[in-house]
Symmetry: C2
Subunit: 621 residues, 2 copies
């Protein structure tokens, strides 16, 4: 028999049979009518639970963030899982992990699956990594229905008279002609109180039937959950049936859809529906914002999203509960798990329990968005930040050679090198701790130990982390040992979370500059003319008070992926600005950041296979 660490992730995953999800649900206190099974190992949890547990005090709220990662990732999800396993099984505290649903882009592209690894996994990993319970597919369908509605509407308005449009939009059905509720809502926004279709003036009819969208000012994009770089810029409408109404546009990766952000930030079905309705898809030729509700599509969107809003219950390898909800990509989206999953979990664990939720990538982006966007929306306040570091990433920030997927690791990363580690600690690690402290929240550093790390390296990281202001810093061995390897972290987290936290938001105005300077360490920002014009327009539309969701590389504190450590002396370029009015944030695009990843020459899919007899899947890790 092999020792721990000598088994493949997939072998470990298969060796453990997950308990039936209805048993798991019962263990954590769910009533039978509060779950909807999807197969034997996943269940959606109904939001009625929040009503039932309204009076229950919340548990402690732990955010797991990271230092700036290498392109290989530093195992943040495994830390979350290991910590919850340790809290549950070893400290006997109710606890819950809140993770995000993986995107199929990375799963079939560069990164592979995202179920954790070693003895800190969500199982079954293939259920986690593939369609899950269909949330991202529902988002894709809803997003693209809006897009189809926009282009079809522009065509119909361009080719029909007011009268023809009106007779089609408000048809006579068996002699009865009336506005639908969604049309009455539009009349209200136009200041028209009349609800008899035959009584509108020609001017009122015209303003009702014409959204008058400016094709050059449509901001809504189509999405796919695939790394399809050829869709980054496209021209649509080139068939003769579209009568010359061609237009340049693009596809984004599905998890960057505003509808994903709404799923993550909504606090219930009603709130989600309201947010979907007020999504701004572009502006009219006279400069007025046009919303999904103006298109008449917001009810249909709510219907498409009715199941996606329920978090999915799964389990770790050691049987601890996990909510999987909302999506990744904290670089090009807000990239946090959902407000609803966190709220449900906080009620389920109760006053003495712990909810461990993950923010994507480095603390400069995932954590910053968690605080400034997610906590603003939820009203929840974190007790503590766990900041994940690895010796590998610290060496890179200390000046080690380039690390890239598919290439062998240079020797510096395999042999002991205290000098590189020290330089990495005093630059990137220190800076990320300081960023958490900007928000007034205590930090515990979790060093995710690899087998090539030496004891001297481990000691050095823990010592320097504490010198940089961390409440505590401990090594974690969950990959090799599961929850048992994270007991020290669990104790440190329990200890630190009894300290007072003095949470504060970072900004109320000058928001983009504030994030750039205080969080990223930039000297200043530089707005492109396009970005400037957008800011003026959004301010004029009254969106000036919304928080900010920066689309920035996760591979550096700056906008330049190759700048490791703590870059200084740079100006952050803002290329363009989008507005996600339904989600409730402004979305600056930093530098050359793309909202659609590409496939490498040898994508992960080469190694993914299914045995048609055993039905076993290979290559998803």
């Amino acid at each position: 028999m092999r020792a721990p660490g000598e088994w493949d992730d997939i072998e470990i995953s298969r060796a453990q049979t997950p308990k039936p999800v209805d048993q798991l649900a019962q263990e954590i206190g769910l009533l039978q009518e509060e779950t909807e099974a999807y197969g034997r190992t996943k269940a959606k949890v109904r939001l009625s639970l929040l009503d039932r547990l309204r009076e229950q005090p919340d548990g402690k709220y732990v955010l797991v963030a990271g230092i700036t990662p290498t392109p290989l990732g530093e195992g943040k999800s495994t830390v979350v899982i290991g910590l919850v396993q340790a809290l549950s099984a070893h400290l006997k505290l109710n606890s819950f992990a809140c993770l995000r649903q993986p995107s199929q882009g990375p799963t079939f592209g560069v990164k592979g699956g995202a179920a954790g690894g070693g003895y800190a996994q969500v199982i079954p990993m293939e259920e986690f990594n593939l369609h899950l319970t269909g949330d991202i597919h529902a988002i894709t369908a809803a997003n693209n229905l809006v897009a189809a509605a926009i282009d079809a509407r522009m065509l119909h308005e361009a080719t029909q008279t007011d009268k023809a449009l009106y007779s089609r939009l408000v048809p006579s059905v068996n002699g009865d002609r009336r506005f639908s509720p969604i049309q009455i809502a539009r009349l209200r926004r136009l200041g028209i109180s009349e609800i008899d279709p035959s009584a509108l003036t020609p001017q009122e009819v015209s303003s009702f039937v014409r959204l008058d969208l400016d094709p050059a000012k449509v901001t809504w994009q189509r999405v796919v959950d695939t790394n399809d770089r050829f869709l980054r810029k496209i021209t649509v409408g080139q068939a003769s049936t579209e009568k010359g109404h061609v237009r340049e546009t693009q596809f984004d990766i599905a998890v960057a859809s505003e509808i994903m952000a709404i799923l993550a930030l909504a606090d219930g079905l009603g709130d989600m529906k309201t947010r979907l309705g007020r999504m701004v898809v572009g502006s009219s030729r006279s400069g007025q914002p046009v919303t999904a509700e103006d298109l008449g599509v917001s009810g249909a969107l709510a219907v498409l999203m009715k199941d996606a809003i329920k978090p999915t219950l799964m389990q770790t390898l050691e049987g601890s509960p996990v909510f999987v909800h909302a999506g990744p990509f904290a670089n090009i989206a807000h990239g946090n798990s959902s407000v609803l999953a966190d709220k449900l979990a906080l009620k389920l664990v109760g006053e003495d329990g712990f909810v461990v939720t993950e923010a994507g990538f480095g603390a400069d982006i995932g954590m910053e968005k968690f605080f400034n966007i997610k906590c603003r929306a939820s009203g929840l306040r974190p007790n503590i930040v766990v900041l994940v570091a690895t010796v590998r990433a610290l060496k890179m920030h200390g000046g080690g050679p380039n690390v890239s997927a598919g290439s062998p690791l240079p020797r510096e990363y395999i042999d002991e090198n205290l000098s590189l580690v020290a330089k990495g600690c005093s630059s990137n690690l220190r800076k990320q701790i300081q960023i958490a402290h900007l928000f007034g929240v205590p930090v515990v550093v979790a060093l995710n130990v690899f087998k090539t790390d030496t004891q001297a390296e481990i000691n050095l990281v823990c010592q320097m982390a504490k010198e940089s202001g961390a409440s505590d810093a401990v090594p974690c061995h969950h990959w090799a040992l599961g929850g048992r390897g994270s007991v020290e972290l669990a104790q440190a987290v329990k200890q630190a979370s009894s300290q007072p936290s003095h949470f504060q938001f970072l900004y109320s105005q000058e928001k983009i500059r504030m994030i750039a300077q205080k969080v990223y360490g930039a000297d200043d920002i530089e707005l492109s003319p396009e970005a400037k014009a957008k800011i003026d327009y959004y301010n004029q539309q009254g969106y000036g008070k919304l928080p900010i969701c920066m689309a920035k590389t996760h591979l550096s504190l700056s906008h330049l992926p190759e700048k490791k450590g703590t870059p200084t002396g740079f100006t952050l370029p803002i290329r363009d600005i989008r507005a996600s009015i339904g989600a409730g944030f402004i979305y600056p695009l930093v530098g050359t950041m793309s909202t659609m990843p590409g496939l490498p020459t040898r994508p992960c899919f080469y190694d993914i296979d299914l045995d048609p007899v055993t039905e076993e899947i290979t290559g998803l890790f």
Copy 2:
């Protein structure tokens, strides 16, 4: 209280609480381990059932097809459901309905939901009409992964040397360099027996790494399950990161994907995987076909489709079992439910039972494809065809005025008009009966009765149907009465299915012309130069023996939607020809038939809404 027929479809649907799906599964003889619940009212059924029931004799196999419909549809799905309800509850025979999963294109576009109506519905209709168990989403994801792989591969080949491509495609991992199984399969196809990567000659390396796809000869399209007409013709690759490799292409509606056809025609996981691997995506500059397996993506496709291959179990309003599997659009796809659903159902009902499966649209397309494509693939032989007619559609074929969605029906369709009915019977109804007889299968005509139909009209249709060769012809009242309204049909079907059936395929060669002349009644076909060139190429590639899947309008026997009745004196234009080598058919595009529908001025989505408090959905019917 209102009489039957005075309740809305949605009220009827809500008034009936579906039995728990595990209870339904138990009633029809499924073991607990053979189902995977998706919520409380849907379950996927595992294919292991086929092994367990291998020795069980099949039940009777009934195909429901129709005359050429009006754009409103003639209620074929309701006939299927009513018939199964009558067979089950009133004739006490095991029976099963096999329906297709609706596409979100029509659901949010013109047609609305597809769960049947009145007292012949699948419930809950919102589960049926929305994401179901995610099969179409899985198809979309798989289809678009292939598309992304094609364009990325062409870019990588255009911008890298053989050596660079080879070192990336076959990387050294910890000093170990080897081909993956899918790469070894490609080497075999290239006639290279060497499996040591370092031993290939430069010429062998070059032929291994270069698929050399001709961008002008890529036949694979992207898909979305949305009516998005602006994607009918697009240009991709216009971002600077794609270095000028722009290309014209298009999106189709998702159910027209070859992967949907494979799902419908595969007889198991192994067969599906083989078919996915041999899908031809285009040809190389030297004219060789390039497959999904050449792209290295076929294992990943099988993984994405591993759950979709299991049919979904639901129930009718009266609790009879229904399999929902594969997709609609018998005009632009093959549009039949799956071979696997039918096979599972035939085993489950047993020797004396009945399986009623539906072919889309008129018998000239849905039924023709059922016989020539689906029965060829499955080896199953139908006992009887039920041909659905309505007085409304017959009047249209008899010369009645235009019928269109959203416009009030002209008086001819509301008042008795025996002359129009008679003309419709002697043209379209007679022709569709004759088409079924071409295949040697007996026909029972089911007249789907509307409340405006008079007794004289009903009698006339039944009499003329029998004069035209139908074994029987009966009126059905399932919409108003449920199974009780279809007892007469059930008895006729039971009676007719005891007659001998002399099933034969229509063609073995000259296939397109044979369908055009024998089925549609065309004088001849006319191939465009493009179609001619494709036929030559496909013959040369050895695809000449594959059956044919015509993409033709469903609104006429001819290629011209306005030609009703039995058009004659026309030549059928074949605009282009595609090949679905994995699915196993050749796919001629007839006339101006589009593979992407559009949205009307007032799409269905205007009326679709969700009450966030009660969670009730409106507008899906």
